[in-house]
């Protein structure tokens, strides 16, 4: 994360363009693959919503995905991929009694799998519902460990291991093991629509900076003051023809 010579610390952010996202779930499956997530675990998931719907607004039209809002033929449908928002003022970091969850200087919020006591307070505290607990022995898709497949230590702390121990909590890592070697998070790499952008907010010329500064990208639940490092470009009003 830190360039040894310059001691430069980037400010990592991800921007999801909801104009582009078609809810295909490729990023979610990609995340599952690269992180060897057990069955029933989804660090990243695609919520069915309507364009620019406030996340605390009226209940959805249905409990099923892909069901639009409105009455035929006046319908609205949009998708919101949600993984850890990597909050700068993260409730999960605040509540973790043992500092197992911590924020790295670049903005990534990580979990030390060797320190977590499994109290799940962080899950109660996270407003975005992105944390997943290892309730018991995980089940995996057949075929063995997939994805990155190795342990990854951040400053001596185990922040990724292909098979997480029972009784600890886990979530999106911003793909630290990839971004630390200059690769993109896997969900960004696989998104077939180019709806996800990752980069350095310190760099004013970066695509993410532009999307945030000029593209009007916003955070989820800004009113909570969690100051996430994941941003969403709202759906621009489309030219709707008279009906």
């Amino acid at each position: 994360m830190t360039d040894e010579k310059t001691k430069y610390v980037p400010h990592h952010v991800m921007v999801v363009d909801t104009n582009r996202c078609v809810g295909c779930w490729t990023c979610a499956v990609g995340c599952k693959e690269i992180n060897n997530e057990p069955l029933g675990f989804w660090w990243n998931r695609i919520l069915t919503t309507a364009p620019n719907q406030s996340t605390t607004a009226a209940p959805p039209a249905s409990e099923n995905i892909d069901v639009p809002r409105g009455v035929f033929p006046d319908l609205e449908l949009a998708y919101l991929p949600v993984a850890c928002q990597h909050c700068n003022d993260a409730p999960c970091v605040k509540v973790c009694p043992v500092q197992a969850t911590y924020r790295r200087d670049d903005g990534a919020v990580l979990i030390d799998y060797e320190r977590c006591i499994g109290c799940r307070y962080c899950m109660a505290a996270c407003p975005y519902g992105v944390r997943i607990f290892n309730w018991g022995d995980a089940e995996y898709a057949p075929g063995g460990i997939v994805g990155y497949g190795k342990n990854y230590y951040d400053d001596g702390r185990l922040v990724f291991t292909p098979e997480r121990p029972k009784g600890v909590v886990e979530k999106c890592t911003f793909c630290v093991e990839r971004i630390d070697v200059g690769e993109e998070p896997f969900c960004v790499e696989v998104c077939p629509i180019g709806a996800r952008v990752f980069g350095d907010l310190n760099d004013a010329d970066s695509e993410v900076s532009q999307l945030i500064n000029e593209g009007g990208a916003v955070q989820l639940h800004p009113e909570l003051g969690t100051d996430p490092n994941v941003y969403y470009v709202p759906v621009r009003k489309r030219v709707v023809r008279e009906s």
Binding site: T56, P60, V95, G129, N134, D137, K166, V168, H221
Partner: protein, 440 residues
């Protein structure tokens, strides 16, 4: 501990141990305890998958029972301290019983957390890597303080009871510390929930006062019940003015408690913020959790109020016992409601919802609106810990000779509080079942 320095009549002990009823009682508690322990071993092996908790509702019976016990622990200490601080004489006979109950409750509450941990062996990380911004850490701290305090207080009261001249100043001092400690305990526990912006159902500044009131309410109710039980089976003497005071006090606490809850409802109604409303709708009649509403408002609210306040009902035999028992149910319902509804109604509520963290080939791996049914393991462990509470309390009660007539005297040496005070009221259980009696 201090009690060891106090000489106790050993004859009593011998008799106690021989009682068949007590042995059955202990055997029963041991059985429940062993089942609970076995369930915990099972849970350690299978992980928390053995519970009914999953990712949307990720706290369950352990936590709401924990919060319940924390609340219960309030009563005794507050009573003991109030007796001292506010000079409420009617409460004095309950002081030791109360503090004993407080200590047992808080100990059991603390233990309640252990089976809830995914990695219980790492519990010392709390000491090794404490995070001072976490309400949980503060709660652990205050629980520890509260437990130690209760034990000390009990010892002091005990010494005082045996030798009324000793430790009077210490007792007074402790009384003054006890009140704020209790208030703090309940506030910090409330803040575990109340500070979380993630759950609108929790995130109210009323949470701490509400916890304090409901703690006082349930704690007093518990002590009342324990006293009534002691009276019935343990030859404890509950004076009539104490009884009357308890009746009024519980009624008052219940009214305030319901008032606070109502305040929250009104705030939600008036504001009509969807996220808040969707949580409240779960609870209100018609919603899936309305049984908790009825538990809280009817079973634990209006009915006990009636038993406590309506003259005709007051006269029903055992009305105080019935009322306080129902109050406990009501407060437990409130604890369940607090924890579960907070989870059931996540802030971000779009399909498909949150990943559950477990896989079922034929069901969805997601939940939009949380569901929770405690597993047998949770019931077993929780009941086991309740049995532990009963065992601690019984033992304490017996070893400290709380029912020993000799020791029931006014710690301040004022009016004598013996059972011959006044004529028995209709709800005074004058006919007692003596099978479990330890003394003739």
């Amino acid at each position: 501990m201090a009690i060891n320095t106090v000489s106790l009549p050993d004859a009593a002990e011998g008799k106690v141990a021989k009682s068949v009823g007590v042995q059955i009682w202990y055997a029963l508690l041991a059985l429940i305890g062993v089942i609970g322990f076995a369930a915990w071993i099972y849970e350690l092996d299978h992980g928390l998958a053995a519970t009914g908790m999953r990712d949307v509702v990720s706290w369950g019976m352990y936590i709401f029972t924990f919060a319940f016990f924390i609340g219960l622990s309030a009563g005794g200490l507050i009573m003991a301290s109030s007796a001292e601080v506010f000079g409420i004489k009617a409460l004095k006979p309950l002081a030791r019983l109360g503090v004993l109950s407080a200590a047992s409750c808080v100990a059991v509450a603390a233990l309640m957390i252990i089976p809830d941990l995914g990695q219980p062996t790492r519990i010392l990380n709390l000491v090794r890597h404490p995070n001072w911004s976490s309400p949980l850490l503060w709660d652990v701290l205050i629980i520890t303080v509260y437990f130690i305090f209760s034990v000390v207080d009990l010892s002091v009261l005990q010494v005082h009871a045996v030798e009324p001249t000793r430790l009077r100043r210490t007792m007074r001092l402790l009384a003054y510390i006890g009140l704020p400690t209790a208030v703090l305990l309940h506030s910090v526990t409330a803040w575990i929930f109340g500070l979380q912006i993630s759950r609108t159902w929790w995130n109210t500044s009323l949470m701490a006062p509400l916890f304090v009131v409901s703690a006082i309410l349930s704690g007093t109710a518990l002590v009342t019940l324990l006293a009534l039980a002691a009276e019935r089976w343990g030859h404890f003497n509950l004076p009539n003015d104490t009884r009357e005071w308890l009746r009024k006090f519980v009624a008052m606490a219940l009214l305030i408690d319901l008032f606070f809850v109502a305040c929250d409802y009104i705030t939600i109604f008036w504001g009509n913020v969807p996220a808040d409303r969707s949580a409240l709708n779960l609870v209100l009649p018609g919603g899936p959790y309305s049984w908790l509403f009825w538990g809280e408002w009817l079973v634990g609210g209006l009915v006990p109020l009636a038993f406590l306040m309506v003259p005709r009902l007051r006269r029903v035999s055992g009305s105080l016992g019935i009322a306080t028992f129902l109050v406990l149910i009501g407060v437990y319902a409130f604890r369940i409601e607090l924890v579960i509804v907070g989870f059931v109604n996540p802030l971000t509520q779009f399909p498909p919802g949150n990943a559950l963290g477990t896989y079922n080939a034929t069901a969805s791996s997601f939940q939009l609106v949380g569901k929770y049914t405690p597993s047998l393991v949770e019931y077993a462990i929780t009941l086991g810990l309740c049995a532990l509470f009963a065992a601690i309390f019984t033992t304490g009660y017996r070893r400290l000779h709380l029912a020993d007539g000799k020791m029931i005297r006014d710690p301040l040496g004022s009016a004598s509080l013996t059972r011959d005070e006044g004529p028995p009221t209709s709800d005074d259980n004058s006919v007692r079942d003596t099978t479990l009696a330890t003394k003739p």
